[in-house]
Symmetry: C2
């Protein structure tokens, strides 16, 4: 193992430059104009996996291809098999003007590498590839067989991954799936995440007059779609920060006293947290702490509003339509289909007869929870401790990785969530970054992990 | 006068082609990128006035210049003097994709000329210039001295016109101001407008976190500015379509029984009106007819909403800020300053402590009302009747021409509103048009008007 760790140490600078190459691709899956960048990014990644020594192929899907890269394995290998999941697609970079430097031109400042996708998920996933490279290039025997599955549609709901998993169920049969796409509270607190929130996305468009109308000539005789939308949205969250949709909370599993105790152990300074987010005052569901609110309670968020004139100055119109993009975060044991039905029912009930409502149901993902005391989780905790030299903590994560549910349903495998992102990594925000120390420790953690996992089997 | 009318008839085709040249300028005063187009449009117009035979100058202002063009006058002229007001700036053309043909490439279909500004106000104002041309080019004596005042900032609140009027008060001293920038119910209903609504514009920005946040990682702990904005806006209009701001209605003059009778005489088919606007159901202040709602009652309109991600697909963020553009239409005797103060007070009261509110007070304009039985108004009615061959009607207009109040205050002059726009002219909307029959009748009306006005003095 010495050879592995010395290889990781010696090649640090090259790994960083490779990550820079990787994040240069504007692989924004949500935006059709980046289709070509998606392909180029997938090609680059596949070639990189081949250079590392992995048996690599691009698996086509109706959308973006999946990179499948396997460690070379003995004929009748009896080694335990693990799938390492990641994604090469990134969030849209808008609003561009808030980036200090362009999102797809990586910039290093101190120990931070700034670029869209640096943390979510290119950097985190690359750490695992580099650990595999270290084993392969030093001729050190890997105690496990590994298959990297790196998709290009995570940020748009992984709509083709389930089908891919079903089509490759045998090849992907594994002990567990390993994913680094979550966070840790600080560099001093390496963390294993045992639960994730799910998601339901909905887009609402209220149609009013057939065109924008002169608000002087016609204003006062027709409903204003932007006002109708505001009044509709306003009714979806109550004063206590709760989602005001009948049936929304019906399947929410209450937090156990044990879990609330774990939450209370997590480091959180309210003033520091407020400063981090740039708000004067926090706001969340009454009766829960911020740590609980952000990871163990369901939410409603308006992600975007669009209506009428948005340019400089004023334009005196009654806009023809108004649109809102919404996402709801779900917790165990909410089901996206039940929640979506409840949302649509309430929207229909609230929509006034003066506008026509169009609802586009977006992606959905189930929440996830797994036992932190399983042998896999324990191996993960040991690997974290070995790499970071600190006692790791157990946590829930507020984000969604919908495909974790697919791994369970289709492959029958639990997922080990070993996140390397820091709270100020600005995932999904302007000036996203990845900490290069976390990058290096992540490689070490991955190198340890296969040893620890092999021990337990 | 025969020479005048025959000149108008013979040169019809050229006039249309000149209007086409005029509307080709994208003179959008609200958008800084069109500053150059503003200048070029003003230059074109000034040259055109000179060719007609008017003594023309460009009066500079801190914003766009005012075109001042005078009929040549005798040394100690005792003719009555009238100011003809118009504006060469136009509304923004967005959304471009809804235009059948580009907004600044005029297209003639039947008797309609499609282009941004065709009706509001280039075509309507040009009709008066063409009538003056007919007098001047045929050597027919004009019974009145005329001064055309054509500004370039009407669509952004005429912010420099009052100062211009003050600086040129003596030169502009006049019997009355003549403006064609309003509408008539149909070609069969030429109309004199005796009242206008005022306006107050306000822009609200709610600031939340210092950047867009990942809604999974942080969602649930901070207020969502788009939701806060929706909840704030929702409270500004009640179920009865009334503006829910204390003190907003305090100065509203009640409609007299006589006025409500006049309104009832105006032609309006509800199904045809709904079809025109493309709505299934009308909505307005309870207790008033649509004709009253659109012209004699105050309103609140959201002109635009902006927040977060607006592109394709979804982006799971808590947006950093949310913005709404609002305008309120005012009626006699509301005062913009009093109304604005009432609005700001209520906004402050409603804004939650979880977001920071920024309010930009936009332009304001007072409502206007004048007696329809004055000699000027009577002359206007006769000119309309002579040109259109129909009994003109008296009406209120829902739009705002804030400078009408300035004419009263600064020049001491009432304004004759002789609108030539039809209800389906799409002023401020995509596919704006001007009816070429109204253009022709408008020239005749203007030619008659100076005769009728001279009679009365």
């Amino acid at each position: 193992m010495e050879a592995v760790f010395s290889y990781l140490e010696k090649n640090k600078a090259r790994f960083i430059s490779e990550l820079c190459d990787y994040v240069k691709f504007p692989s924004v899956s949500a935006q059709p104009e980046h289709r070509k960048d998606m392909t180029q990014c997938a090609d680059w990644l596949a070639n990189h996996c081949r250079e590392i020594g992995l048996e690599t192929r691009l698996a086509e899907t109706p959308g973006n291809p999946v990179v499948v890269a396997k460690t070379p394995r003995a004929k009748n290998s009896h080694k335990p098999h693990y799938v390492v999941y990641g994604h090469y697609d990134v969030q849209p970079a808008e609003p561009f003007e808030l980036w200090k430097t362009p999102p797809f031109e990586p910039r290093i400042e101190g120990t931070s590498l700034f670029a869209r996708g640096a943390s979510d998920n290119k950097g985190q996933n690359l750490a695992h590839l580099k650990a595999a490279e270290a084993y392969l290039k030093t001729g050190t025997e890997l105690p496990c067989d590994l298959t990297f599955v790196i998709e290009g549609e995570e940020e748009v709901g992984s709509k083709n991954l389930a089908e891919f998993l079903r089509n490759n169920r045998q090849e992907l049969h594994c002990e567990s799936v390993v994913v680094s796409d979550t966070g840790m509270p600080s560099k001093k607190h390496p963390a294993l995440t045992y639960a994730l929130r799910g998601i339901v996305a909905v887009e609402i468009i209220l149609h009013g007059p057939s065109r924008d109308l002169h608000s002087g000539i016609y204003g006062g005789t027709v409903d204003n779609p932007a006002m109708a939308l505001s009044q509709l949205l306003a009714q979806l969250r109550d004063k206590n920060g709760r989602v005001a949709i009948p049936g929304f909370y019906q399947d929410v599993a209450p937090l156990s006293a044990y879990e609330r105790k774990q939450f209370a152990r997590l480091p959180l300074s309210i003033p520091a947290y407020q400063k981090l987010l740039g708000v004067r005052k926090l706001f969340g569901e009454r009766g829960f702490t911020p740590m609980e609110q952000r990871s163990a309670r369901p939410t409603i968020e308006i992600n975007g509003l669009t209506s009428g004139y948005q340019g400089e100055g004023s334009k005196t119109i009654v806009p023809s339509w108004a649109k809102a993009k919404l996402t709801f975060r779900l917790v165990p044991n909410q089901r996206p289909s039940q929640v979506r039905a409840a949302i649509l029912k309430q929207l229909k009930k609230l929509c006034p007869p003066t506008v026509r409502m169009e609802v586009k149901a977006g992606h959905g993902g189930e929440p996830y929870i797994v036992s932190p005391t399983s042998p896999h989780a324990q191996a993960g905790l040991r690997a974290l401790k070995a790499a970071f030299g600190r006692e790791p903590i157990l946590m829930r994560e507020g984000g969604s990785i919908p495909i974790v549910t697919d791994f369970k349903k289709i492959l029958g495998a639990d997922t080990l969530l070993l996140g390397l992102a820091l709270p100020d990594d600005n995932a999904h925000s302007p000036n996203e970054k990845f900490d290069l120390e976390c990058f290096a420790k992540g490689m070490q953690m991955s190198a340890h992990l296969w040893q620890e996992l092999a021990k337990k089997t």
